[in-house]
């Protein structure tokens, strides 16, 4: 079974990933502690977030060692979420504009 095969990793691998996750969390905390603002803040937050998520998924959850059929089952549906985010971002901006137009106090 591929599952048994996937478990034959040295414990040191988990310690390394653990250390990396600690470091990345520390970095993302520093983004707030140093009060970085604007596009720099958002970019750094997103980069650290994606790196952490990737490490947890690929190593801790062993997705890296699963077959492509299972990987596709997990990642193809996420496309719907990306579309949903785009739609609701547009919708949110539109609602905001309407509120400013019709509900702002003179």
């Amino acid at each position: 079974m591929s599952a048994d095969h996937a478990q034959q990793h040295p414990i040191s691998l988990y310690f390394k990933v653990w250390g990396l996750l600690f470091l990345l969390s520390f970095f993302s905390y520093m983004v707030d502690y140093l009060q970085l603002q604007g596009p720099l803040r958002w970019t750094l937050v997103l980069i650290f977030m994606l790196l952490k998520a990737g490490l947890i998924l690929s190593v801790f959850m062993h997705v890296k060692w699963e077959r492509l059929a299972l990987q596709l089952l997990l990642f193809v549906p996420l496309f719907a979420i990306v579309v949903f985010i785009a739609l609701m971002a547009v919708e949110g901006d539109y609602t905001h504009a309407l509120r400013l137009l019709y509900f702002s106090q003179q």
Binding site: S2, F22, M61, F84
Partner: protein, 224 residues
Amino acid sequence: MSGQVDNSAEAKGWHSVVNDWAADQRTFRVSWGKLMMWIFLLGDTFIFSIFLISYMTVRLSATDAWPNASQVFELVVFGHTVPLFLIAIMTFILITSSGTMAMAVSCAYRKQKKLAVYLMLATAVLGASFVGMQAFEWSKLIADGVRPWANPMGAAQFGAAFFMITGFHGLHVSAGVIYLLVVARKLSRGDYDQRGYEIVEISGLYWHFVDLVWVFIFAFFYLW
């Protein structure tokens, strides 16, 4: 290749997908228990995504200023005001619990049952302390006057988004702690000695997912 069709399990890339989905064959070469956990987690991904997307929508459309999470969640520690102090500790605790869980899975597959049980118990203890800190955070915010319908710091939608998202995540952590304790007890009792210890990996998947969701909540709710 040279025109030969590779039907074996060793096929790579798209070839392996076509082979796996072909007739007279089971598609996923993992046990049904693990596959069902993955499908459940995929559904859970959509639930949490919908929460975070609705949070994004109300935050974008709010005309009042959104409360500054850095200030809302700051704590005074030894006379110093530290932003997001408890949230940072909670993040480190959850990552540590993910680490101990990964090692429990590894130990279970090496047939080191006792060590796997202890590591699972350590994971459950860390998870319970996370829930405890979250309860503290909630009480502090409620004492500060944050309600699902209003708060003194700014946009009214802040409270609803906060209680909904962190509450649902906290519920997942609490359920995970119970799940881990049950599996650890059955494991130490010897219930899985005949069937093998894959259940440790399956419960591990759930636990790592809870940690994964927190990564997104931390980024979008606390740091944005």
